[in-house]
């Protein structure tokens, strides 16, 4: 199969097009790194959603709940490990950050398992009910978050070593964004390796292409799906934790705010495609940051415009998944 590299070219193209508009190279580098960091965080949150859609034709409108839960759990753990966060030592800071993120992933994953059981399973194949019921799940989850963590927003401060920026000449790069880029790339690499180099990944890809055939060959696609759903929820939790630290304030509505970006990303990428989701997320992150710098008032409108342009070019998204 020939690789379709055209959409990938869009990323450097966009960055190059923004360069003369932004003007100074220092702010351009800063914005580009910020855009990549934002895009990768969105990718982490969106990857599970697009895979579950591709595999079982299930779109979970309650995905935002996992993002929010991840953010809240991570915040609680980090507040509990407050002293480690305040010390000016990268290792101690990471020692607080790591368990927080792992806890967020674990809780979101378990929640995802329960969500799949209780909410999603009875409505396979019925899109209207799926949308309604998962939206209902989101409503309930947001209210439960308010019950557990209180209705007020939580303010988080980033660990000391991740505060501030690194200066390279006159280029300033926020440290936290570097971490976000690293985490995002690790997740992407892990996903790509799993999908392309392992047996499970082969089955998942085959399931996305043609689920019935995989079942006919004797594999239980349902189990595969539950696994993907749980991993996707855990990744949403990870993304939520990262996003919460990025914003430094967390409200119960955090999932609802981010889910819009996530949806735009998976539409741009082509529903069901992880590679498309990756490209789409980077495009969205970069556009948001460039436009946010050039014309701050229309930043969110720019994503819609981006989506419309890409859908005009490729109506099924950048990497359409074959059967749909």
């Amino acid at each position: 199969m020939k690789r379709d590299l055209l959409p990938l070219l869009l990323i450097p193209l966009l960055a190059a097009a923004a360069f003369p508009l932004v003007g100074s190279s220092a702010s351009w580098v800063t914005l580009t790194v910020a855009g990549l960091a934002m895009g990768l965080m969105i990718f982490v949150m969106a990857s599970g959603l697009t895979l579950t859609f591709g595999l079982m034709d299930v779109l979970n409108f309650g995905h935002g709940a996992f993002i929010a839960v991840g953010a809240f759990v991570a915040a609680s753990v980090m507040l509990a490990l407050g002293t480690w966060m305040q010390v000016d030592s990268l290792w101690l800071n990471l020692a607080a950050f790591l368990p927080a993120v792992l806890a967020a992933m674990a809780v979101s994953g378990v929640l995802g398992f329960a969500f799949e059981r209780v909410i999603v399973r009875p409505v396979y194949g019925q899109h209207l009910k799926q949308i309604l019921v998962t939206t209902g799940g989101l409503i309930v989850a947001e209210q439960l978050l308010k019950v557990v963590w209180g209705p007020d927003q939580i303010t988080l401060t980033r660990p000391t070593a991740l505060r501030g920026a690194i200066l390279l000449g006159d280029i300033a790069i926020e440290k936290y964004r570097i971490l976000a880029v690293i985490v995002g790339l690790v997740v992407f690499a892990a996903l790509a390796l799993t999908l392309n180099r392992t047996r499970i990944g082969l089955l998942i890809r085959a399931g996305v292409e043609n689920g019935e055939m995989v079942e006919a060959l004797g594999y239980r696609i349902r189990r595969l799906f539950v696994g993907v759903f749980v991993v996707g929820s855990a990744l949403a939790g990870l993304g939520g934790a990262m996003w919460g630290l990025y914003q430094e304030t967390i409200t119960a509505g955090i999932g609802g705010q981010v889910i819009v970006l996530v949806f735009i990303v998976i539409i741009i990428g082509g529903l069901g495609s992880v590679g498309g989701c990756f490209v789409g997320a980077l495009l969205v992150g970069l556009t948001a940051n460039y436009i946010g710098f050039l014309a701050p008032k229309v930043a969110l409108g720019s994503n819609i415009l981006l989506m419309a342009l890409i859908l005009l070019w490729r109506p099924q998204g950048l990497y359409p998944v074959a059967k749909r």
């Binding site: 779109l59 409108f61 909410i119 009875p122 409505v123 899109h127 209207l128 009910k129 799926q130 949308i131 309604l132 019921v133 939206t135 209902g136 799940g137 409503i139 309930v140 209210q143 439960l144 308010k146 019950v147 209705p151 609802g256 889910i259 819009v260 949806f263 735009i264 539409i267 529903l271 008032k297 229309v298 930043a299 969110l300 409108g301 994503n303 819609i304 989506m307 419309a308 859908l311």
Partner: protein, 327 residues
């Protein structure tokens, strides 16, 4: 007579008929039955939300498409009137211009979104409307020169609708305003009832049940779906205009926010999808709950409604009205 007013869509259940009659009488005589500024406000909001929820049901219950942009049209109607009244001064001409401009924008947007995404699948439409609606919400709170930003707009109503207008004793502009809202809402609900019981409505239901078959019989589903979403958008716009004429204050929170979208979803699903009486019951229950239930069960009343919503989708897809009609 009654049959033709209700477009031959009778309640078909004694309890439903009683409930609807109670709602009609309660709203028609609300200023006298429940005196006080707060209860009149609640009654007016019930009228507005009945229209809004009923127009959403045209999409969700009859055509089988989920739009998350319904509050966007509601907001466009409200902002149309609000901006016109702010800019052009408090007069009926301004109200008219605001409504017409709002309708034009709403229908144009509905056509655009419809043609863009309705030929694809339900899920696609739901996601795109969600994205567009959130962009409009952000725009409304950012373009403060036009929309007043987060705070919204405060404006003066036409003379005849102000509380200080007293043509004769015991009658105020506020009362006139209420009956304006009430009768326009009643007319809109009856018009929607007419639409869903027309041949056009039958085509919509056919599309909901089986789009392929409807297309095969010879109905262009894209056209019908887009038309339905235009009608729903126009009705929601009018509901927004009514709200703006009632509250003399329009802000993103009261017209565009996703909380309102969630409210409408709850109203339609709990009340009953696919009948025009469902949203009526749902809107009454939800607005009453918002205003009075909070005192009884505390702040987390939405949690219980959310659980009720999920249970409704699973076990009572036709909601309260479907339950009542089955016996």
């Amino acid at each position: 007579m009654l049959r033709s007013i209700l477009s031959d869509d009778m309640p078909r259940s004694r309890w439903l008929a009683i409930a609807l009659l109670a709602i009609l009488v309660g709203l028609a005589f609300a200023p006298f039955l429940f005196p006080g500024a707060k209860s009149l406000n609640v009654a007016a909001r019930i009228c507005v939300f009945i229209v809004l929820a009923a127009s959403f049901d045209l999409l969700l219950g009859y055509t089988g498409i989920v739009s998350f942009a319904h509050t966007m049209f509601f907001g466009i109607g409200a902002y149309g009137v609000a901006i016109a009244l702010t800019r052009l001064g408090p007069g009926w001409a301004a109200v008219g211009i605001g409504i017409v401009a709002g309708l034009a924008l709403a229908i144009a947007l509905a056509v655009l979104i419809g043609l863009f995404s309705l030929r694809l699948r339900t899920i696609f439409f739901a996601m795109i409307t969600l994205a567009v609606a959130s962009a409009v919400l952000i725009l409304a709170s950012q373009l403060s020169a036009i929309t007043g930003g987060e705070d919204g707009l405060n404006y003066r109503l036409p003379m005849a609708l102000r509380p200080s207008f007293r043509p004769f004793d015991g009658f105020t502009g506020r009362l006139l305003d209420y009956y304006l809202v009430f009768f326009v809402s009643l007319a809109l609900v009856l018009a929607l009832l007419r639409i869903v019981n027309s041949p056009f409505g039958s085509v919509l239901m056919a599309i909901r049940e089986n789009p392929f078959r409807a297309e095969a019989i010879g109905y262009r589903t894209v056209i019908y779906r887009t038309l339905a979403s235009c009608i729903a958008a126009a009705t929601a716009t009018l509901a927004g205009a009514l709200l703006a004429l009632w509250s003399s204050q329009t802000s993103p929170d009261t017209t565009l926010s996703f909380d309102i979208m969630v409210d409408i979803l709850l109203m339609v699903v709990i009340g009953g999808m696919g009948t025009m009486y469902g949203p009526v019951i749902g809107a009454v229950l939800l607005v009453l709950a918002q205003n009075y239930l909070q005192a009884l069960v505390g702040d987390r009343w939405l949690l219980w409604l959310g659980v009720a919503f999920i249970l409704c989708v699973y076990f009572f897809p036709t909601g309260i009205v479907g339950r009542l009609r089955r016996r």
